[in-house]
Amino acid sequence: MRLLTRKLPWLIGTLLAVSFFTFMLVSLLPGDPAVMILGAGGVSPEAVAQLRLELGLDRPLVIRYFDWLGSALSGDLGRSPMTGQAVTDAILSRLPVTIQLGTMAIVIALTLAIPLAMVSAYFAGSRLDRGISGLGFALMSVPGFMMAIFLILVFAVGLGWFPATGWVPLSESPAGNLQSAILPAMSLAMIELALYMRLLRTDLIDTLQQDYITLARAKGLPNWLILTRHALRPSSFSLMTVVGLQLGGVISGAIIVEEIFALPGVGRLLYQSILQRDLLMVQGIVLFIATAYVVVNFLVDLCYSLLDPRVRYAE
């Protein structure tokens, strides 16, 4: 509890800074939103001026920021002047896609990374270890979009197992949903997989040095038990931290992957909105993502402090 009261001001401060940075970043983008709304066919100086007035773009930046922050705090992120859709509605309607994609990617990455890293750490230095590390290096050397195109070529065009584009909502058909999600999730998972694997391997090797592991070995516990019960648990803290810190990377990946697979997720909405200078939409989405990132990492940090005795005593 004491911990929470001490860390809460930090959280609030960070979130405020994030909101300010978001607003400035987006508002200062070159290109006039009014011109984009009117399109190449509809612009005239008067129309642009009129529309800027209607959108409130003529008011000073600082005032616009506080207005925006005020309504954002009450859950209203405004309404996109380009589509007429409320920003919160737009985000909420697309969030399930991105959350499912991200979760599936992280789960795939973890289920592959943990056993691989354990084998790698246990047989550290062996051919097997070097093979697995090499695989990790290889995965890290392929950009997400190339992985996506490669997976499409092999599994969609070549084998025809999965659709190349499109999204089937879970409510429509669970099987179809899984089918449409698997390739994009795999493309996202591969880079994460490499990162998790390398981190966990280093961490496990470190843990395996500890005295209590030697003790456990001396007691004659089987190797698999030592690895899963005694070695993996302390390493899971740092793994959790990295998964949290990597959220930004997953979102960046999702932008590209959703674009390639034509998925109706938040990443694609964000990218399209940036190109169209739909400022309120971009602000809303970036604020949402950044806040989610800060809060998730705050919670990870909190769990870490509460659960890991070393950190708890240090406090």
Binding site: T14, L25, S141, M146, I205, S252, I256
Partner: protein
């Protein structure tokens, strides 16, 4: 100094009772894989430096008759959608990739490294402030920051390098700070301080030399990531302006022809893959010598 390599050899010999590999890693230096990778990197670097003097065709001269010809036909590695020689574009693209990678990593290294050392040395408000700013920056997905930066400063070679370099400042600041924190506790720094050496002198003579090696070693891995980031930008059409060839640009150019002429995308993809792989591998090997712990990032 704790060494990961030493650690692993201990574990393995304990677990396996198999000690020959320890000699391979330690005794015989880096092993053949390292030298193959380093050789490839050297080749790329030579192409980058001597691109103009190498006996390759003009990388931006379209010959429509050769359009989409496969490898080993009119062109050794084939021709692209405009009938330009892919080999020539690879060689000249190496230059652009190397320039971007070097510039971006240098920017991150110098600015981030300086901030990190200062934060690690002086601590206090400056450290807390810096870490708070870095936390805020890290809360934004890197691609969003990059898109915004590119929109501001344009798509010239310099602009792209600077934009990508900016992304590396937080990472480097963290690496430098973590290493500085461990260095300032060492006896020789404490001794220098006790002897009344000036702050600047301690920073330059005692801290910097001990921080710079791990930071440099991290640089190779970072360069690999820069090349990947550049290719992602190129995929969105937002990397260095045509007609300058970049590997990322060549891949996204080739995407249009995947169905009819797969080599246009495949050849630069393979080149890029091996380069990034080599950077990762060489960087990791060097890094493990200097024991930069990933968990410190």
């Amino acid at each position: 100094m704790r060494s990961k390599v030493a650690d692993s050899s201990v574990v393995r010999s304990r677990a396996q009772g198999f000690s020959a590999a320890a000699r391979q890693v330690f005794g015989r230096g880096f092993g053949p894989g390292f030298w193959i990778a380093a050789g490839w990197l050297l080749l790329v670097a030579l192409c980058a430096v001597f691109a103009d003097w190498l006996p390759v065709r003009d990388p931006i001269d379209p010959v429509i008759a050769n359009r989409l010809n496969g490898p080993l036909t009119t062109n050794i590695l084939g021709a692209d959608g405009l009938g330009r020689d892919i080999l020539a574009r690879l060689v000249h693209g190496a230059r652009v990739s190397v320039v971007i990678a070097l510039t971006a990593v240098s920017i991150g290294m110098v600015i981030g490294g300086t901030l990190g050392i200062l934060a690690g040395y002086f601590r206090g408000h400056f450290e807390r402030g810096l870490m708070a700013v870095l936390d805020v920056i890290l809360a934004f997905p890197w691609l969003v920051l990059l898109l915004a930066l590119v929109a501001f400063i344009g798509q010239s070679l310099a602009a792209i390098s600077v934009a990508i370099g900016f992304l590396w400042i937080p990472a480097y600041a963290r690496v430098a700070r973590a290493n500085t924190l461990s260095v300032v506790q060492r006896e020789y720094v404490l001794a220098a301080r006790a002897m009344g050496a000036s702050t600047l002198r301690i920073l330059l003579r005692e801290v910097l030399p001990n921080v710079i090696l791990p930071v440099l070693a991290y640089g190779l891995v970072a360069m690999g990531l820069v090349i990947i980031v550049e290719s992602a930008l190129a995929f969105l059409g937002l990397s260095v302006e045509a007609p300058q060839p970049t590997w990322g640009g060549m891949i996204s150019e080739g995407k249009r022809h995947l169905a009819t002429a797969v080599h246009v995308a495949l050849v630069p993809s393979i080149t890029m893959f091996f380069t990034v792989l080599s950077l990762n591998y060489v960087g990791d090997r060097l890094r493990s010598r200097f024991d930069v712990r990933e968990s410190n990032l």
